[in-house]
């Protein structure tokens, strides 16, 4: 882990990786979306609206995985003071918030034709909205403490505390009666027919690679920013 503590070594790996991950992810996601829109059958109950799944599920996964990443980076920041941890967490927040928002928006659009409502305050929908608000708060907090030149400790604590929402989102459909459906995909199998399911791994892996590429891009941007500010300070010039 500390092998990449040196930003120079991290950058030499991140630079080529960004392009590869980005393009591979974009191609996979595109293939998955095209397959999901044209090749798969409709659902017996929902009809064509089932195709929203190919966007909604990856977005939900990445919205949650993003905060999982922030929490992991927060532990690395709090315990090991890893120099890249705070940067990784800050870089993850904005794309994570975007995917959480995509999940909420696509879910809302899906809910209208199937359930008959854009929004209801059930356990799953509410906890996912809370995740989106947590992202917004995290972005504000991390930016504010970075601007002050203060430690990333407060943001790391917030990132860790906020992670408690992840199991709540996951188990909301088990603990409480919800309007949202139960879990379709588990470790042991899926209740989605294979002919409908198969493009979903493509879009999920594709968007995940794309997400990783965006994070690497943003980490490089934050590192470059820090370098620039340090140089300006050294030159004693304008802030």
């Amino acid at each position: 882990m500390h092998a990449f503590a040196n930003p120079t070594r991290f950058l030499s790996l991140a630079r080529p990786l960004t392009g590869w991950l980005g393009w591979a992810g974009a191609v996979l996601a595109l293939v998955g979306i095209i397959a999901g829109l044209t090749l798969t059958p409709r659902d017996y109950l929902q009809g064509e609206t089932v195709r929203i799944m190919y966007i909604h599920v990856p977005a939900a996964w990445l919205g949650m995985a993003g905060w999982g990443g922030i929490a992991a980076a927060s532990v690395a920041e709090l315990v090991w003071r890893h120099p890249l941890a705070a940067i990784a967490a800050r870089a993850t927040a904005v794309p994570g918030a975007v995917f959480a928002a995509i999940c909420l928006a696509s879910g809302s659009i899906w809910g209208r034709p199937t359930w008959g409502t854009w929004w209801e305050w059930d356990g799953r929908l509410t906890s996912m909205l809370v995740l989106f608000f947590l992202y917004i708060a995290y972005i504000a907090l991390a930016d504010a403490s970075a601007d002050r030149g203060g430690g990333a400790r407060v943001a790391a604590i917030f990132g860790l505390v906020g992670a408690i929402n992840l199991p709540i989102i996951h188990f909301s459909v088990l603990w409480w009666r919800t309007l949202h459906q139960g879990q379709s995909i588990g470790f042991t199998g899926s209740t989605i027919a294979p002919s409908i399911l198969w493009p979903l791994p493509l879009t999920t892996i594709g968007f995940t690679l794309l997400f990783t590429a965006i994070i690497l891009m943003r980490m490089r941007m934050l590192l470059a920013n820090a370098k620039l500010e340090a140089r300006q300070r050294r030159m004693g010039g304008a802030a």
């Binding site: 059958p41 034709p113 359930w115 008959g116 603990w175 459906q181 879990q183 002919s195 399911l197």
Partner: protein
């Protein structure tokens, strides 16, 4: 103990306390955070007539009847253990059909009789193409 290990132990302890607190809160919320009553719960809890609630379950097969006025429907909501007669006037979602999930917002007018203001359809986690679903899932819908 090295400072690094001390921080690790502290972080893990804090995390453990946090998870325990959240689990306690969630188990306390267990009954309050549900989105709807099942028919059995509503009957067991003696929900007062007139009190606005959501009632959810399956639309019982063979219970869906359209009244002569063309916009009012009668059906029964069941959770397997109990069943409640419901009435609704208006347009229902496309997915509303016999044997499928429903969440009705409204109130009991008498014990065991529910009048809904809003009907939401709830579908389960099973997705399949129409060919596979076939006659197994052929159910009566309100669509012509």
């Amino acid at each position: 103990m090295k400072a690094k290990n001390q921080r690790l132990v502290l972080t893990l302890a804090a995390l453990g306390a946090l998870v325990a607190a959240a689990l306690l809160a969630m188990s306390a919320l267990r009954n309050q955070a549900s989105f709807f009553y099942s028919p059995a719960d509503a009957l067991r809890d003696h929900v007062r007539p007139g009190q606005a609630i959501r009632l959810g379950g399956m639309v019982e097969k063979g219970s869906l009847v359209r009244e002569p006025d063309g916009v009012t429907i009668d059906f029964r909501v069941t959770d397997g253990a109990a069943s409640v007669a419901a009435r609704y006037t208006g347009i229902v979602p496309d997915l509303f059909r016999e044997g499928s999930g429903v969440v009705a917002e409204g109130r009991f007018v008498a014990p065991g009789t529910f009048v809904a203001d809003t009907i939401l359809a709830k579908h389960d986690e099973k997705y399949m193409p129409p060919q596979i679903a076939g006659s197994m899932h052929e159910t009566k819908s309100l669509k012509p």
